[in-house]
Symmetry: C2
Subunit: 223 residues, 2 copies
């Protein structure tokens, strides 16, 4: 409405913080929180920082690089309890990892293709290895086991993260419908199991799943 008829001088313009890699990642997370992953584009983030998309390329290699950085930043919040039995600490840690991913299913999806070896991810890996070691799991089983332990929360989150995601909700309802309508002749076992297949809250399935994985890792020797 009251647009000035000349460009603002440097003194008058609101101070624009300098671009940094961290600032770009933070802006990316802000957009993610506010508008979801599909709005996390170079152009949108640049707008957030009051600049052009091209300017970001001084600090960020490409979109994949940015996404990996964002994921690692989110993992900063995943920390273990300091006391307690190794098993409860491990389950808690994995549930907290899952919680972060459930809040950001799009990032969970991304983390399958765009890996991070950022400091927070490595710390998480280290903590899990430590806990498995405490539980007496042989080192070679633990080393391959971490991968499996991190995979399942990621998968569950990607599959049905809680963020309002019309497409995904519809897909799952779709599966439920197909399972309910399964022809007992062509799909006898699906028809027999019925609701059981799609039953349970994500939290309940996660908890059981984590136990399954830990039991399996503990009890399965490597050839």
């Amino acid at each position: 409405m009251t647009a000035p008829d000349r460009p603002l001088s440097r003194r008058e313009r609101p101070a624009k913080p300098p671009l940094t890699r961290a600032g770009i990642v933070a802006a990316g997370l802000a957009v993610l929180e506010a508008e979801g992953m599909e709005k996390v584009t170079m152009r949108r983030i640049a707008a957030e920082l009051d600049t052009g998309a091209a300017s970001l390329y001084v600090y960020v290699q490409n979109t994949a690089d940015l996404h990996a950085q964002m994921l690692d930043e989110l993992l900063a919040g995943v920390t273990p309890a300091e006391t307690g039995a190794w098993l409860t600490r491990l389950i808690d840690l994995l549930e907290s990892y899952a919680a972060v991913l459930f809040q950001h299913p799009e990032i969970a999806r991304l983390s399958m293709s765009t890996h991070t070896s950022g400091p927070n991810y490595l710390r998480l890996l280290d903590t899990i290895l430590g806990l498995l070691g405490e539980g007496g799991v042989p080192e070679n089983q633990a080393a391959w086991g971490v991968d499996i332990l991190l995979a399942y929360p990621t998968f569950l989150a990607a599959e049905r993260g809680s963020r309002a995601q019309p497409r995904n909700a519809r897909d799952f309802a779709d599966l439920a419908t197909h399972v309910a309508a399964a022809d007992p002749y062509t799909l006898p076992h699906v028809a027999a199991a019925g609701d059981e297949i799609v039953s349970g809250t994500p939290a309940a399935r996660l908890r059981w799943g984590i136990t399954v994985l830990i039991n399996g890792i503990t009890q399965t020797e490597r050839a």
Copy 2:
């Protein structure tokens, strides 16, 4: 070079097969095979079928719908052995599922966000439930277990599918580098486990992982 100076008449033009949903899915798979997932776009597929992108929307709701359809089509090749012990048949089936996904990591990645409840997916579900039942696994454990059994191959394929994928290969090498360079003070367990973490062929890790999951599912009661 020798372009005709008038449009070809209907008789002269090479016969153009009519558009069908199946034809569009097949064209999508052809493009996937030839040029990779990132080229599987509405426009590219339309070009393949000698038409415009808009024409596809008569048969396909949107990109997600198309992708789900493509995935289900790929699963047609995943079929179980007819004889043998339930355990070896189950392991074989999961390895064959994994093999398909390893050849199409981009589809594996996609299948996390875009679900299919297509006929082939449901058949796979049914077969696995049947085999677990044969193995004496209680029905409620089997019903939640299928999800876990299908998750791990998907995750592994998405993570390091074999198709030439410069970004992914670099990421994994990156992780290996970080693991190798892990500071024994801040990351003691990673440093101790060292190479072990990134060791083994995908096939070997997959086989051990499947065994881990089956053992866990068999031995973990549901509350």
